[in-house]
Symmetry: C2
Subunit: 368 residues, 2 copies
């Protein structure tokens, strides 16, 4: 799908962006409702946010991503007050001795596609049309910038109490490990500013057009919902997606552990899938979909999205409840993630699975 | 005891300082042997270190304490390479945009009285004749500077891999909590620079004369050892100390947990104490000494030191082994610790004991 290029984010765009972000968030990236409210409040106060292609920036421009880090289960109960993200950004700017020229979205997700918009509105800065994942992933080294050789550090973490921590680590995996234990000590979630990049670095390493894509996906879901159609059909067609399964949630096992929401949910088939089951494993985001006989149907880094069977509304991992009637929807990931370096960072082996990665379109040839 | 004022630290002073520091370290503060080697190497290379009373500094001088943080059990196996402490100091100086005018010792202890000397020699800076505890304590907010309203932050932590973290927290207890989980992630120990203070702040808040006292105690132990006398008698007389117990170590329970070495050891009486037992609880440092019927004999913040029964050599909590013949030696703490604020910070209640603090000289009237 070629998404229509987004030029500015107005108040009225936020419902689409929150929804499109939650869809690409593959179960993670935080609650879309809260993120939408935060961004709407900031836009109402400060006016629309300009969206710029990375080519419109000078090579020495300073681009700073901001987001929330932690278990989505915790984020729901520990709402950002709104100024922690600004505090993280300002503390990083002070540390660098430079002001940001643009804000950047590190991942797609309900909260993490919208917090950067709130910050951009508040700081009267443009936002870059791109992101670092093309979806959401649970760990902070899992970004295209790591593949592009950009350091996550200096990174700043801030919490609602006023604590602020600057990390300078030897590599991005170490940044994740230190930041994760600090997140736990912050009560399970914190606001962060990291991967400060020059325009030149960003041009080489980011995934492009993500804000436009998120917006287009949100528009599709809304317009199909308005026409009383389930958006899954049209999303499958426009995004080369696959309807993997439909059914009713039978069991959810979810625990907050080591700063992540980990667990799995089992879905009992309905309609065309009656008589079979599928199991989704997650660590903040969905990682693996397998049928009850152990056959993989989708493997990280390909996207696994859970949608309400009636409305097509994305369901995050912390929202899943017994009895929900759902569609399991799959999407091929950005081709960069299928490279050797990409799979080292986000493939099944990294998450402890012995499974070898196979592209979703090969696992489901009949459905493509 | 009025300690003779120490003016410079020569190579030949290090054996006394390492020993005196280990004695006041109350079982913690790190291994004296390693600390001595580090400081001796630095002095041999760079010459003696000047020791100055805090009154000799201007009110706007910058005083920076450096030390190792972590479980002593881990410090033994994860030796500092020597340059991590310098890295922590330099990173803090860069963050502040100012150079230190003097180095400071945060606590007494085998390693933590000697690392600052190594750093001072390396940086060609004087060291202040004082410390923040008058002994060792396990947590970093447990210093007289906290009572004096000095912030532990900005604080820098560095490890041997090259990771470096700057903390800015809302209070000193929060600094401890964040720093402790980072220490664990660093592998159990890290080098830190913290409590950057002006001369004026230091004059109001530090404990004075500690380097001179440490040196004098070390001299007493060495001279008594040289004369083949157990130093305990003379230490008791000169320091108003109390020989609480003598016996043989019967049992040691020690675990590294949450970044601390926690546990207890039981000592079976010998000589005048035959037929009774005493139990020492520790968290890096000794906290409580109790007889087998539960009667307290010494309670934090008073000092509990374990000495070899033959030689008077201080024994750290990570060195205690079954069969060691030992003297349990007690000392009244600095009077500041007996204030309401002092006991809140380091009294038995903070460590989870229901016991009320009672001064060691009241608990052992017959022995004073």
């Amino acid at each position: 799908m070629t998404a229509k290029q987004l030029k500015t984010i107005e108040l009225s765009d936020m419902k689409n962006i929150a929804l499109g972000g939650a869809f690409l968030g593959t179960g993670g990236g935080g609650d879309p409702y809260i993120g939408r409210l935060m961004a709407e409040e900031a836009i109402a106060k400060n006016g629309p946010v300009q969206v710029l292609d990375i080519e419109e920036f000078d090579d020495d421009a300073l681009i700073i991503p901001v987001c929330m880090m932690g278990a989505p289960t915790v984020m729901l109960e520990k709402l950002p007050r709104g100024n922690e993200a600004i505090a993280a950004l300002e503390s990083l700017q002070n540390y660098l001795g430079k002001r940001a020229d643009a804000i950047f979205c590190i991942e797609a997700g309900g909260l993490n596609s919208t917090i950067p918009i709130a910050v951009a509105a508040e700081m009267k800065l443009p936002i870059v049309d791109g992101d670092g994942m093309g979806r959401a992933f649970p760990e902070l080294q899992m970004v295209s910038m790591t593949m592009g050789g950009v350091s996550a550090c200096p990174m700043v973490m801030a919490d609602e109490k006023g604590n602020s921590i600057v990390l300078n680590t030897v590599d991005n995996l170490s940044t994740e490990k230190f930041a994760r234990v600090i997140t736990v000590e912050m009560g399970g979630a914190g606001l962060i500013a990291l991967y400060p990049m020059t325009g030149a670095e960003a041009k080489k390493s980011i995934l492009r057009g993500s804000m436009s894509l998120i917006n287009s996906i949100g528009r599709i879901i809304h317009s199909e919902q308005a026409a009383n159609r389930n958006p899954a059909e049209r999303l499958a067609r426009d995004l080369n997606g696959i309807r993997l399964f439909e059914g009713r949630v039978l069991d959810v096992d979810r625990r907050t552990e080591g700063g992540f929401a980990r667990g799995s949910c089992t879905i009992d088939g309905l309609g065309p899938d009656a008589g079979s089951q599928i199991k989704l494993d997650f660590q903040n985001e969905f990682l693996i979909a397998k049928t009850s006989d152990g056959t993989p149907r989708a493997i990280t880094p390909d996207l696994i999205c859970l949608l309400d069977l009636e409305t097509g509304q994305p369901i995050t991992t912390e929202q899943i409840r017994y009895g929900f009637r759902v569609i399991v929807f799959g999407l091929p990931c950005n081709p960069q993630w299928r490279s050797e370096h990409g799979l080292e960072l986000v493939g099944p082996g990294y998450f402890g699975y012995e499974l070898e990665y196979q592209p979703i379109e090969k696992l489901n040839p009949a459905k493509v």
